[in-house]
Symmetry: C2
Subunit: 460 residues, 2 copies
């Protein structure tokens, strides 16, 4: 990288510019099969003006800029294949304000979801988006994150109301508003959310909050087959039951979670983990409605009556990653996700499970099935990181999701890991995305080598 | 317009090309203060390929292209200030398919909302977006329409899942998907929806459907003041009550509706018209919850127990436009809307009502207040169309909405009527929208002279 840029950064930010290899290594991440590429420098910023200064400098010198928050992305979103400057936003973690009438929180991008929810504890409101990690608001907005609650409360696309957004030349735009809706022009916020730092950097966000429901009831439901579980989900959603979480675990996942969580002792069958939100009567009738749906497909719902049981249940679900690593000792998990229309979910999962077996893989399956979204954690053997057969399996998984009218990622995003699928998924629409990228970042300094890169599945 | 374009259109479409002034006059619309500008030709298309043919031809010759559906837009969206070709999509009105599991309908752009809901009658599903007019799906998507149900079911932004989209050079892109969510790239669908035909034309849409709720209860609630009504709304929404419609009518609106609807005999006070959706117990508890909220602000809820009463109530609400015209005989209504955060709604309405009185206007106020959105129908005297004082009033209304952190339109959109406010509302973000427009339609053939036009409030 241009030494003048380094010098100027050091003048501006002093010790907050880090050039050591050991630090830079912490600010890159890549999925197996993608080379780890650290940035040339990491700069810790403390306010919007400092983001503007770094971006403006990089714009002047044509240097790559990548924003980092909690660094929990999974597809190489913060990898730096062209080097450049990583802007560490983790210290921009102030909760600027809460508006209880508008049910919004104004936050800096480094605020984490757990931090925000702790802060909200006395307000009767909560922030709903819950990806596995304790991710940052800026990062979650950038990757259009979701999680277990999205079936009821939506993804980040539905939960970011407005933002301040630093564009490629350092201009700051105010996008969106706290008004509940608008018909005045292009919804820039909607392309900013999910653009993975390739069009601009969030310097402040207004996010939606939701009233804490009067009643919350959780439970588990055992099925003879994944298909029975998925059909139950479709039936329950078709009736508009007040389901807030509906998570599938296949047999392998259940076994691993049983082994890891002392309080869990589930029959070794596919399960749904469920949570119902609403007022007391709504929840009661939704639970009854669900019991009827499940009964039709041979499922038995077991309610967790006590708060501790419910907490233990979701802890077990959130600990799945660790459970799988404990179950498959010495192996390394490769997390991936796809998402398909609900009507294709059962067929897509069946074909995938058959493929896992035929490929001789260990890959427990868990899913936000109310969203048609499922995850695999492929437990890699030593040295399988670059394995051709693993990559071939991932290719079949992605192709399969597309053939069912779905998307190659429901929540992990594009990064470097899935960029080669952009053309197959989007066709002419990718040219349209590229035109937008070229218009808003003509020098291609914002997170280059990602979303619009000309790699394809064939050219892999 | 280039005579070669006319000739080629006639070769391709024969009698479906209309050049008569009387026909062309029906394919333009403008709010008071904006000149009516008919297109040079109207072409009725029957399928996507025909849209592609017209757009490609216009692209070749640099001729303007405007899409029309039900022609019910209010801000001059289908006006043709630069002439050109109007593509009449009203005959592309096939319902291509319904997927009850995914709860989606695939429709051509000319399908109207009432047509779709009639078609859905036996399915247990419905389409929720209900602007005043029986608008077309393509037009509603283009203007990001909403209506009375949006407080619960969202605007078109939340109810279009996927689309086929004809871009400026005639390329057709598939945008979005029927998968419930995606994290693969820019959300092009979200900028297509609300772009008012300036970036592309919808040739097919997948829209979301919702389960018809088990129980629907409607009612009216009378208040001593608008402020009491609005505070009740905020309180009810803050508790997560299952409100599907929550409409404000000020005293003037109530008087006019009473006079027009034989079944309506409301006390001459501000009112909320309400509807609750859910299962029987949810609705019952939400109604109870609402009664408590209203009581705190002196409101009395009166439930419409019978279906006929409920139907009459919403008919009265939907007939408001006609009621106002009947009440103010010989006057012409100018409809406008703004939208602000819920926390500012009461203050914004109060200031507006005071301004109406000070300006000596007759302008009943109705609003989708759960969305922070309210409408005025300014009843113009003869010759007031070009009135400086009316325009000054509209300017103050728009400025006021912005000063409260809101938007100059919640649902009517930009068209030609509100384009002069784009800069004041969006600042640097408007440059960003212009860059996207220039990237996707470099020759500026798609609905030119609208959204990105350099008019400003000062230059008016």
């Amino acid at each position: 990288m241009n030494t003048q840029v380094i010098e100027k950064l050091c003048q501006l930010f002093g010790e907050r510019v880090r050039l050591e290899h050991s630090i830079r290594q912490q600010f890159c991440q890549a999925p197996p099969g993608v080379q780890l590429s650290p940035p040339d420098a990491v700069v810790t910023v403390r306010n919007e003006q400092e983001i503007v200064e770094v971006v403006s400098l990089c714009h002047e010198y044509g240097v790559a800029v990548i924003a980092a928050g909690a660094r929990s992305s999974l597809e190489g979103q913060i990898n730096a294949p062209q080097g450049g400057v990583c802007i560490d936003c983790s210290e921009m973690n102030a909760i600027v304000g809460i508006n209880t009438t508008d049910m919004t929180a104004t936050v800096q991008p480094g605020v984490t979801r757990e931090q925000l929810n702790s802060h909200l504890r006395e307000t009767g409101l909560f922030f709903s988006v819950d990806p596995g990690a304790n991710a940052s608001m800026g990062g979650m907005a950038a990757t259009r994150a979701s999680g277990t609650n999205s079936v009821r409360y939506g993804t980040m696309a539905a939960n970011v109301k407005a933002a301040r957004w630093v564009m490629a030349d350092g201009t700051v735009a105010q996008i969106g508003s706290r008004a509940p809706k608008s018909a005045m022009g292009l919804d820039l916020l909607a392309i900013a959310v999910g653009s993975e730092g390739t069009l601009g950097l969030f310097s402040e966000l207004d996010v939606r909050l939701h009233p804490v429901p009067e009643a919350i009831v959780a439970g588990v439901c055992s099925f003879a087959s994944v298909d029975d579980a998925v059909q139950t989900v479709a039936s329950a959603l078709g009736q508009g039951l007040s389901v807030a979480r509906i998570e599938l675990l296949d047999v392998t996942a259940v076994r691993a979670c049983n082994a890891y969580s002392p309080s869990l002792n589930l029959p070794e069958n596919p399960h749904l983990f469920l949570e119902f939100h609403g007022d007391t009567s709504t929840v009661a009738s939704s639970v009854e409605g669900f019991i009827d749906c499940a009964h039709e497909f041979g499922g038995q719902l077991k309610i967790s009556h006590r708060l501790e049981e419910r907490t233990a249940l979701w802890k077990a679900r959130h600990d799945a990653w660790w459970a799988f690593h404990a179950y498959y000792k010495g192996r390394k998990g490769l997390a991936t996700d796809v998402c398909v229309p609900l009507s294709s979910l059962s067929a897509c999962i069946s074909a995938t499970v058959a493929d896992i077996a035929a490929s001789g893989l260990d890959a427990p399956l868990i899913g936000h099935v109310g969203d048609g979204n499922f995850h695999l954690l492929i437990m890699l053997q030593e040295g399988e990181d670059e394995s051709v057969s693993i990559q071939a399996f991932l290719s079949r998984l992605s192709s399969r999701a597309l053939s069912f009218g779905g998307t190659v990622s429901g929540e992990h995003g594009v990064g470097e890991g899935k960029v080669k699928w952009m053309s197959a998924q989007h066709g002419a629409a990718l040219d349209c995305m590229r035109a937008i990228k070229a218009a808003l970042d003509p020098a291609n300094i914002l997170n280059p080598g990602k979303m619009y890169h000309p790699r394809t599945v064939d050219a892999q």
